[in-house]
Amino acid sequence: MTERYDVLIVGAGPAGLAAAQTAASRGARVGLIDAQARAGGQVWRHDVRRTAPRAAREAIAALRSVELLTNHQVVAAEPSALRVETQQGSSLLSYTSLILATGARELLLPFPGWTLPGVTGAGGMQALVKQGWPIAGKRVVIAGSGPLLLAAAATLRAHGARLQGIYEQAPVARVHAFARQLLRWPARATQAVALRAQLAGVPYRFGTFVRSAHGEAALRTVDIEGPHGTTRLDCDLLAVGYGLVPNVELAQLLGCATVQRSAHPQVQVDPSLRTSVAGIYAAGEANGIGGLAVARLEGAIAGHMAVGDTAAANLLLPRRDKARGFAELLATHFSLDPRLHQLADAQTLICRCEDVTLGELDGFSDARAAKLATRCGMGACQGRICGTVLAELGRFSRSGSRPPLFPARLATLAGAATFPLPTISTEVADHE
C-alpha cells in the first residue's frame, strides 16, 4: 500500500507544523508524520494537566488540510518513499519533496550512578510528567546545563514535585553575561523572567554539577560538586540533561550529508535549507540546535522551498539568521566544563543496552572496532545513547545508521501492510 504526497514532513514539532501549514496553504497534498500520539514535538508536547500555549494551539489548528499521521514511526527509506510502522501495520509513503524536522534529543553524560532507577534526562522527565507520570510530593534534583533546565523545572513544579534545587554547570559569570545579551531577544527575555517567577524559592546554583548518584535498588542521594566543594543531597529523583543533540539518523539513512560543528553531527543545509540530496530539506534542531523561534521560521522556509517558492522563502531568511544568532549565544555561554567528561570511571556503564563499561572501551579509537569486540552500540538503541556519549567524551564518533531506524517488526521490513498477530514480547536473557 503506497500513499503519495507532494510534500511529506517527518516530525510534528514546531518546525514540522510550520512547514506543513506553509506547504498546505499553497495547495500541496501534505503528510505530517510523527511517532508520538499527538502533534507538538518536544517544546509543545501535550500536557495532561495544562492547556497548550496559544502558539501551539494555533499551529495545530492551522493544519486543516494536512494529513496528520501520528503514531507513525519512520523505520526505513526506499527510493522517494519512507516506510512507516503503526500499531496495525506498515505502509509506504512516497513524496515529491521531503522535509526532515526530526528535532533533537537530550545529551546525557555518564557519571557513577547515572543508570540507577530514578535518574533520567531533564527533558525526559518533563515529557514523562506531561504524560501523567505521578511526581507530586517527590523530591527532585534538577541538574545539567542551559535554559531547558528551567523549563523542565517549571513543568515538574506545576505537577507537584518538590524541587530540591537546579544545578547549572555554567559558572555564574557566564550565566549573567548570557542574561545581559538576552535583552537583544526581548521575547526570550520575557520568557526567562516568567520562568524564574514560576520557580521562586527554588535554589538555582551555578558552576555546579552532579558528580555521582547513590542508592541500592533506586536513587537515594546525589553528590553535587560546586565552587565550595561537594555536598550530598537526599532526593527521590534526579533529572539531568546537558543540552541537545540533533537527530540526524534519518537524514543519514537517506544519504544526506552531515557536518560537525561540535562533537555531534547536524544535517548539512544551504541557506535555503536544501540538504545535499535533491528534493530533501531540513528544518529546525536537526540542522543544529537553535530553539523554538528558529524551528518555526525554518519550518516555514522549508515549506515554501518544498512547493518551489524560493522568493517567499528568501523573505524569511534575515529573521531566521537573527534567531540563529541566539543559538550561538547559548552554545558559547553554556559550553560544558571539561570536568564533566571525566566523571565516569572504568566501571560506569556506557552502553546500557549491552552492558558495556567505559573500562571495556579503553584502547579503541574507532566505533566499529569497539562494537565488533564489545557489542557496544549493538542493542535496541543502536548507539543513540552510548555513541553520542562516546563522541562527547572524545573517544570516537558514531558510525553511520542502518535500517531499521528504530526497532521494527520483521513484517514491516518485509513490506506487510497489516500485522496478523500481536507482537511477541521480548524477554531479556541473562547475560554477563
Partner: protein, 370 residues
C-alpha cells in the same frame, strides 16, 4: 636516510578470519610473522557473517575442507571470545523429494565422518515447534555450532601477537614488490607474503579473479527459546551454489544472546553496501514461509556483506601462479568462517613443505592460470 626494511618469515596481508587464522598457525609454527590490516580486525566479510560452522557436502573438495576445519574448531568450544554455541544444524525438507535428498546427504556426511540423522516430520516438530505446518521432515547435524567471527579473528591475532607477531594496524599493503610488501606509508616489509584480502584480492593479485557476492542479514531483539537450532532449508545449496544472479534461502539462527539472526540472500551484480528493501523483503518472505511467527519479532538492525567468490566457488589456497614466495588464502565465499582454520593449516603445511592432511589440488590457485 632509508631505514632497512623490517624482515619476517611471513607477511600476512589482511586480518579477516582467514588471515587471522593463518597468522595464528604461522606463529604457532615458530615463524616470525607480520600482519597488515587497514581496518578493524575481522571488519570485512568476517564481521558480516552468520558464523555458522557447517559441513557443506555437495562438492567433495568443500566437504573435505569443511570437515577438516570443523575438527579444529573443537579447540575453541570453550573459548569465551568465540561465543561458541553448539546448537546443531537442522535442515528442513519441504516435500518428499527434499526428504529423499536429506537421506542422500546424511549418508554422504556420515561417510565423511560427520554425524547426521534423517528426521521424520513428528521429530522435526518436536525439535522446532515454531516451524510452519506441512514440512516433510529433515536432517539433523547435531555437532555443528555457531560462533561470533570478528571476536575469534581478534583472538587469533592477539594469540599470534603473544607469540611475537607484529601487527601493522591501520596500514594497507599497496603493492607486492619482489621479496616483500610495500605499505601505504611508503615503508617496505621483506619476506614471503601471504595475501588474505578476501574480496579485495584482485587489487594485489589481478591474475586471480574474484567477485563479491552480496548478502543481507537481519538481527532481532532477544527471544530466548523461540528456536533451538540453526535452521536451513534443504534447498539452500541451490541458492548457495546456483548461478542465478540473485537468490534467497531460509537460513535462521538462534544467537547465544537469545537474538534471532536471519538470512540469507545472494546477489552477484549488486556492488554497493546499502541494504536493499526489495531484497530484504524477498528474503524475509522466504523465512516467514518456514517460521510464520518471525513476522512478529522486532528487528534491531539489517546489514550487508560481500562473500569473496572465485569463478569455481573454491578458495585459492597455495602458491601464487607466477609469483615467488607469494602465497594466497582467499575466496571462501559463504563458508570462510567454517573453513578458515583448515585453510590455514593446509597453507602452512604447503609453506613449510609438509604433507597436508587433505589433498590441496582442488584449491591450487594455478588452476586459474591454466
Amino acid at each position: 636516510m632509508k631505514a632497512a626494511a623490517a624482515s619476517y618469515d611471513l607477511i600476512v596481508v589482511g586480518a579477516g578470519i582467514v588471515g587471522a587464522a593463518c597468522a595464528d598457525a604461522a606463529s604457532a609454527d615458530g615463524l616470525r610473522v607480520a600482519i597488515v590490516e587497514p581496518g578493524p580486525i575481522g571488519g570485512g566479510a568476517t564481521a558480516a557473517a552468520m558464523g555458522h560452522l557447517v559441513a557443506m557436502d555437495d562438492d567433495p573438495a568443500e566437504l573435505a575442507l569443511s570437515r577438516y576445519s570443523l575438527q579444529q574448531w573443537e579447540a575453541f568450544a570453550d573459548l569465551k571470545e568465540a561465543e561458541f554455541s553448539r546448537c546443531g544444524t537442522l535442515w528442513v525438507a519441504r516435500g518428499d523429494a527434499e526428504l529423499a535428498a536429506a537421506s542422500t546427504r546424511a549418508t554422504r556426511l556420515a561417510a565423511a565422518g560427520v554425524e547426521a540423522h534423517v528426521l521424520d516430520a513428528n521429530t522435526l516438530y518436536e525439535l522446532e515447534p515454531a516451524l510452519a505446518p506441512g514440512m516433510s521432515g529433515g536432517m539433523l547435524v547435531p555437532r555443528e555450532a555457531v560462533v561470533y567471527p570478528p571476536r575469534v579473528a581478534r583472538y587469533l591475532v592477539q594469540r599470534a601477537q603473544s607469540r611475537g607477531a607484529q601487527l601493522y594496524a591501520g596500514r594497507r599493503v599497496n603493492a607486492l614488490p619482489r621479496g616483500g610488501a610495500q605499505l601505504d606509508d611508503g615503508s617496505t616489509l621483506s619476506g614471503p607474503v601471504l595475501v588474505a584480502t578476501g574480496c579485495a584480492l584482485p587489487a594485489l593479485l589481478p591474475q586471480l579473479p574474484m567477485r563479491g557476492r552480496k548478502g543481507h542479514l537481519v538481527i532481532t531483539e532477544r527471544y530466548p527459546n523461540l528456536l533451538r537450532h540453526q535452521l536451513l532449508e534443504l534447498g539452500y545449496a541451490d541458492s548457495a551454489h546456483g548461478d542465478a544472479d540473485s537468490s534467497v534461502a531460509f537460513n535462521v539462527q538462534p544467537r547465544p544472546t537469545g537474538q534471532i539472526l536471519i538470512g540469507s540472500s545472494r546477489e552477484f551484480s549488486a556492488t554497493d553496501a546499502a541494504v536493499s528493501p526489495a531484497m530484504l523483503q524477498r528474503m524475509l518472505e522466504r523465512c516467514f514461509a518456514f517460521i510464520p511467527t518471525l513476522r512478529q519479532l522486532q528487528a534491531v538492525r539489517a546489514w550487508t556483506g560481500f562473500r569473496p567468490t572465485t569463478p569455481d566457488g573454491r578458495p585459492y589456497l597455495g602458491a601464487v601462479p607466477g609469483g615467488t614466495n607469494q602465497w594466497v588464502a582467499a575466496g571462501h565465499e559463504g563458508l570462510g568462517v567454517t573453513t578458515a582454520l583448515g585453510s590455514a593449516r593446509l597453507l602452512l603445511d604447503l609453506i613449510q613443505g609438509r604433507e597436508p592432511a587433505i589433498d590441496p589440488t582442488p584449491y591450487a590457485p594455478s588452476r586459474m592460470a591454466a
